[in-house]
Symmetry: C2
Subunit: 428 residues, 2 copies
């Protein structure tokens, strides 16, 4: 099929009639599918079903250094949990604090603490006139929600195939002391599934910020979330890169087992220099007497070590891969050559990113919703929920079954076609 | 024995010699006991041992409204957990948000949120020149640590046998708009074990604050933590008292199962008006995708309902009561009539409060430590760790065994005597 923009007005009108008829048929199917969030499917949660059996009433409930996990204490995590996270993330256990059930609250707290207490002794941000964050776009809506919540100005940084546009990042970070942070999902990024190139990681680690309290908020959420055994993206370990670049304190790294064990009952951690962690511990002492150590122990007993996690992630990949491939195959088959959209083919993570023709994303999402398929709101991948081109749509294939995913994607491509034709007709 | 202050210098000197000899003997015993924190003993933790068996791989892992507890969502708690907390606290489930494993982080977050976002739409406290909290003293060191951490000025309010001095509270709250809160442990208070009188509760609920964002931080930590079946303190349910007084939004109530199930892996909740909770939910949406719902389900399946909790608390009482009674008996036997100290006889909670002669608390705690018994630091029960009279000492009988508790208390009374004699000699 030739590109839509080469079709005549007449051809487009005829096409619209056909697509509208198909769309009416599709609506009659009464679909009710949710592709809006990066939520693991029940099948994935069941992969770790046996984790619930690892700690029972007859288990040894003590940590390896003899603390009863059920009691208060060990505010920064049990040693074996620190070690498990450290192994998985390629760092030393001394650079790890294990927190509660998810990493989002750690990121929120980290920004909140900076607002009220500064970063490693800097002026609290709430005392400053202006605080800015760099936001590679499209990006993760919950990151942007945190910075928006705290009144932090967000600056768009275009994502390239190698990661954020580092020329722009270097320029802004080195010249503007109000720039206090950058949100990064360095591996299998949300939503594009882009993995930062080695050069991007090294340039990021070597930034020369104007602000002493500038930090890279390195949300390594998909560090081990590959889709393939053979084609796996890797990035240099960030903390050591920062050390090598003479910037040991510049990064706060976040990770969790939310998409390894359970989304709601995982184990989350922060990785940073000892100086940063010492400062954070001072506040943590006020904030908590300790996170849930029984759940930490449960994780360690179940996964045992990084090899255990890797083996487990292969099972996740086996569930996720067919869904990703089904989406991409349908996109290619149905939209290939039409020049009405572009999409990514990630090798890991939780999302596929789709760029519609300018001004079409909202309409496509609305059309899908009308026919029973909920997508992430158009614009959500941009700060303030505003995509200036109204083009980007995040597809989250994890929750529906492969069969459902196929039906949902068929509807999606139909809506893309229909909205695109209407947009082209408008401009004819 | 007659009061120490009626002894002659000669008698005191002789007594000091005897006490010193006893103290040297005591040191040789090589005690190593910790009475510093309100930490449940292993025996208490074992009472809920079987809770770990309530959720296993073959359990139904869905909430009563069909949500998989292992997945994201239900940010403000699973319905059955809200109901359990509501039953226990005598409120409606609509007034409950269930959070994570402990209540301290909820209190921290509540103050932190007020700093950055105000309370129910008020000016963020970080934008104000001065924020003050009323602190009934002696009180809970971790409350004071939170307010100190955020630079909030703390004003001492004397604790009477009926609770905080309400004349003073009413005066300060109604006249000073910088007064934004009061820390309260209304039942079996920390450290005195005082339960607020009905009049105190009603006057508290009926406060007419100068500041719209004034809140009562009602830490009902020991709501069901009675020592006796027959002699139980009760207070009117606070939220409904506030409603009745026309102050529905004036209270934030906190509670947890930390000292019911597990200190480190409990379930904590906040109770407040729907307006307050709605405002907090807006921030929570940014902060978390949900707390650990599997652990919430574990609690509900184990305790089932409030009757289950009450039955369980009787088992705790059976463990705690002998320790409390041993401490009080030793204090009465050894110090009765000497007029060198006063102590409380709580009917619940986790602490006994001891008031030494002025200027003696630090020395007593140091003497105990030298002989192997760690007490809460003297002054800890006051804001900034400073007890103006250097008199109050918090005794936490929960963690040591009854036998250990006896040895520790014997050492304690010996140190009280010794330090008191030395103080009296100084002044002769």
């Amino acid at each position: 099929m030739k590109p839509y923009n080469e079709l005549s007005k007449e051809e487009l009108r005829k096409l619209r009639e056909e697509l509208l008829a198909d769309y009416e048929d599709a609506k009659k199917k009464g679909l009710k599918l949710d592709m809006s969030r990066g939520k693991p499917s029940p099948v994935q949660l069941d992969l770790a079903k046996d984790m619930l059996d690892t700690i029972s009433s007859d288990s040894d409930i003590n940590t390896e250094n003899g603390f009863d996990c059920r009691n208060y204490g060990l505010m920064d995590g049990i040693p074996e949990a620190k070690r498990l996270i450290a192994e998985m993330m390629g760092v030393s256990a001394d650079n790890v604090i294990v927190f509660g059930n998810a990493s989002l609250p750690i990121m929120y707290d980290t920004v909140s603490r900076a607002m009220t207490h500064g970063v490693l002794g800097s002026t609290p941000w709430c005392k400053l006139d202006k605080v800015k964050f760099l936001c590679p776009v499209p990006g993760y809506d919950r990151h942007f929600a945190i910075t928006e919540h705290f009144g932090i100005e967000m600056i768009h940084i275009p994502m390239l195939s190698t990661g954020p546009d580092m020329d722009m990042v270097e320029e802004l970070v080195s010249k503007d002391a109000a720039v206090k942070g950058i949100w990064c999902v360095p591996k299998y990024s949300n939503p594009q599934g882009i993995t930062y190139s080695e050069e991007t990681v090294r340039r990021m680690a070597a930034l020369k910020p104007a602000a002493e309290d500038f930090r890279i908020y390195w949300d390594n959420a998909y560090a081990v979330h590959h889709l393939y055994d053979d084609k796996q993206d890797e990035i240099p370990e960030m903390l050591s890169e920062c050390e090598k670049a003479g910037n040991p304190d510049i990064v706060f790294e976040f990770c969790s087992t939310s998409k390894i064990s359970y989304a709601g009952s995982g184990m989350a951690a922060m990785i940073a220099s000892k100086a940063n962690l010492e400062y954070i511990r001072q506040a943590l002492t006020i904030q908590t007497i300790g996170h849930d150590k029984v759940n930490q122990l449960r994780h360690v007993r179940y996964f045992k070590n990084y090899d255990g996690i890797k083996a487990h992630m292969k099972k996740h990949a086996a569930v996720m891969r067919p869904k990703f491939e089904a989406v991409v195959a349908t996109l290619e088959e149905e939209l290939g050559g039409l020049e009405i959209g572009a999409w990514t083919k990630p090798r890991g993570g939780y999302f596929i990113s789709f760029d519609a023709m300018e001004g079409c994303a909202k309409a496509i999402v609305a059309k899908c919703k009308e026919a029973g398929v909920v997508l992430t709101g158009a614009g959500a991948t941009f700060p303030y929920g505003h995509d200036p081109k109204d083009s980007n749509i995040r597809i989250a294939p994890s929750y529906p079954s492969a069969k459902e995913m196929e039906m949902a994607t068929e509807l999606f491509v139909l809506c893309v076609k229909l909205v695109s034709v209407e947009k082209l007709l408008e401009n004819k």
